[in-house]
């Protein structure tokens, strides 16, 4: 089954290379289930940024500032330095690891990128090392490490293996298996922390949980949900310092929506192939445009196609341009111009009872507005 799926996916990709989405790209498959376009791109293995630039010819906008990348790298390195001393201290003060539980393995140190000839080989070696360590833990070997920095695990989506590198895996000797840790250089401001940051960090940790469940399943574990509960740790940064804070999180909602997306992927691939004319590929703008999207106000947060979808929504007067509440309320009217006709009583009279009620509602609001201004 695997080779045929690869062939089908490669055909759908056309001239575009396969992007390794990593956790950040992978969780997009569950982000907007109604948006078939984003889901198709993710299943086929194309990143939305690549699509925006290569297919729609939009200027590349998605990028992180070099200063943000610098602080991110420095914070990651500070956590892994000196045998992950900072992380050990963090988990000791939180009472999660005792002094004896200080077994650390730093995978990138064992297989640094520079030392080998090509990247594929390095990744394969890291995967093998991680596999051995996880097997060690499954055998409840006392020497199994408590902290693994930057392991590499596979998540299969439609037979296509995506390499996922959770920042850290942590487990005390008494834990049955590891728990993924997501390290983010966002400042931890308790209640004032950006909710969009928490959401994306929790989703990426959830990809870690799904990856661990995937590899546990390959290692013959039957009840993966019991072995790897939907839990993860967020390590954020104390504002203004390079010191970490530990926030354990339950990820039931995020893991559940991810697993549902993976489960539906095969049927999505069939749908996609039925929807497109034979032999067409996603690198052709017309084909991509023909796949239905579902533009929401939250798309700007994670998808590079948001600008393009907005222009399309404006072009055909889709009420979502005025926000999600407008989209739902004006659903009966279908478009902004129709809604305005109903409000003013111009144009075709209301056809359905729903349009009748909406017309009445809008007319009433229009009069109140005119009177009051």
């Amino acid at each position: 089954m695997n080779s045929s799926v690869d062939g089908r996916l490669a055909r759908l990709r056309g001239s575009l290379p396969v992007d390794e989405p990593g956790a950040r790209g992978f969780e997009r498959v569950a982000r907007n289930p109604d948006c078939t376009r984003l889901r198709a791109l993710t299943i086929v293995g194309i990143d939305s940024a690549t699509a925006a630039v290569q297919v729609y010819g939009e200027p590349a906008r998605e990028g992180q500032s070099p200063f943000a990348i610098a602080i991110g790298n420095r914070f990651d390195r500070a956590m892994a330095e000196n045998g992950a001393a900072e992380l050990l201290e963090l988990y000791r003060t939180a009472g999660r690891l005792t002094t004896e539980e200080c077994k650390v393995v730093i995978v990138p140190d064992m297989v640094p990128i520079g030392s080998r000839r090509d990247l594929k080989h390095v990744m394969a070696v890291r995967q093998t090392i991680t596999q051995k360590l996880l097997e060690q833990k499954l055998r409840r070997d006392p020497k199994a490490p408590n902290i693994i920095v930057k392991p590499r695990v596979l998540v299969t989506l439609l037979g296509l293996d995506h390499g996922i590198e959770p920042d850290v895996l942590v487990a005390s000797d008494s834990d049955a298996f590891y728990r993924p840790v997501e390290i983010k250089s966002y400042p931890d401001r308790a209640g004032k922390t950006e909710s969009a940051d928490i959401r994306s960090a929790s989703r990426q940790a959830a990809v870690g949980v799904v990856a661990l469940r995937n590899i546990a399943c390959r290692m013959g574990v039957r009840d993966v949900a019991a072995l790897v509960p939907a839990l993860g740790d967020l390590v954020l940064r104390i504002p203004g310092a390079l010191k970490p804070t530990l926030r354990p999180m339950t990820l039931k909602g995020e893991v559940d929506s991810l697993e549902r997306a993976i489960q539906e992927a095969p049927s999505n691939l069939e749908e996609l192939e039925e929807m497109l004319p034979a032999g067409s590929a996603l690198d052709d703008p017309l084909v991509l445009e023909s796949i239905p999207n579902s533009y929401r106000s939250s798309c700007r947060e994670y998808c590079a196609l948001a600008q393009h979808c907005k222009q399309a929504a404006v072009a055909n007067g889709d009420p979502v341009v005025l926000g999600d509440v407008a989209r739902e309320t004006l659903a009966a009217a279908g478009s902004i111009s129709r809604a305005l006709d109903l409000a003013r009583g111009t144009g075709a009279p209301p056809r359905t009872p729903a349009e009748q009620a909406l017309a009445e509602q809008l007319r009433e609001a229009m009069n109140e507005y005119r009177e009051a201004v």
Binding site: L88, E100, C102, M110, R218
Partner: protein
């Protein structure tokens, strides 16, 4: 937030004419960037991306051009100073020797960053971390050509299970096997041993106040994760840090030694070259099982 500037040292050793040729290059590049911009503007079918592309190209080159002008003015007016700091300070002894001495002082396999910080703190020498990668390859080539040509080689530490080399942890080939092995707890044990070595080194620094301040700063950073080191409360004293570090070492050191000793016995059975350079890790092809969602 304390910050010691970025890590990589950009060694600028371009004399005046070199900058001038660079500037003329940039000017030519800018001219054809402007032509490209004009052609994009004239043809109607150009996508906004192309226009943006040309525009950012021009911006980029202008920024580069103004920077080089700065550079030219700086170089012309200042007395030519030899850049490349790391060469004039560490001039007399090749880097390889210095790393061997530092490793002896540290006593355990250490990462390039720790060695470089230790060298700068104690001796004020700057050892750029980027140089370690090339050093590692030279040592490997040198050893394979003729292993007896040098008394001691800078070699990677070895993982105690499977004996895979760990390139980012360097050791000395003449060290006994168990000292070059890294068991599950060894990273933590070595961290504590380095901390104790640093504390020991403080009183050997003598009158050099600057070095003492740097070493103390390094000690406090290393001691942050040691329970009972009493960080942050008043003036931290070395005595308490030393006893705390020794206590933790006492707790985990013995088990680590035993593990490494057992691994050393197994490694001793291998041919001498493998005892120094370890065994490359095998890549396992795992079976293709589709992941069924539980529950």
């Amino acid at each position: 937030m304390e910050h010691r500037g970025s890590d990589t040292i950009l060694s600028v050793s371009t004399p005046v004419d070199k900058i001038r040729s660079k500037i003329s290059e940039v000017i030519r590049a800018k001219q054809d960037a402007l032509q490209k911009m004009e052609s994009v503007l004239s043809d109607a079918a150009a996508t906004p991306a192309a226009l943006d592309e040309a525009q950012s190209e021009v911006d980029h080159l202008t920024a580069q051009w103004s920077r080089l002008i700065h550079e030219l003015r700086v170089v012309q007016f200042e007395s030519p100073e030899r850049f490349g700091a790391h060469r004039n300070r560490a001039g007399q002894r090749p880097m390889r020797e210095q790393i061997l001495d530092l490793l002896d002082e540290l006593g355990v396999p250490s990462s390039p960053r720790v060695i470089s910080e230790y060298a700068f703190a104690c001796l004020g020498i700057e050892l750029p971390i980027a140089r370690f990668a090339s050093l590692r390859r030279d040592e490997e080539r040198g050893y394979s050509r003729d292993s007896s040509s040098k008394p001691a080689w800078v070699v990677p530490a070895l993982n105690s299970t499977g004996f895979a080399p760990i390139p980012r942890l360097v050791a000395i080939s003449v060290w006994p096997i168990e000292r070059r092995l890294i068991g599950p707890r060894t990273l933590r044990v070595n961290h504590l041993k380095i901390l104790l070595a640093l504390i020991g080194r403080v009183d050997t620094l003598g009158p050099d106040q600057e070095a003492t301040r740097r070493v103390l700063a390094l000690i406090f950073r290393f001691a942050r994760s040691v329970p009972g080191a009493g960080q942050g409360v008043g003036e931290p004293d070395l005595g308490r840090i030393r006893s705390a570090a020794e206590a933790e070492l006492q707790a985990i050191g013995p088990t680590d030694d035993i593990e490494r000793a057992q691994a050393a016995e197994r490694l001793a059975k291998l041919p001498p070259d493998r005892q120094v350079w370890g065994l490359p890790p095998m890549i396992k092809r795992e079976p293709q099982v589709d992941y069924k969602v539980s529950g």
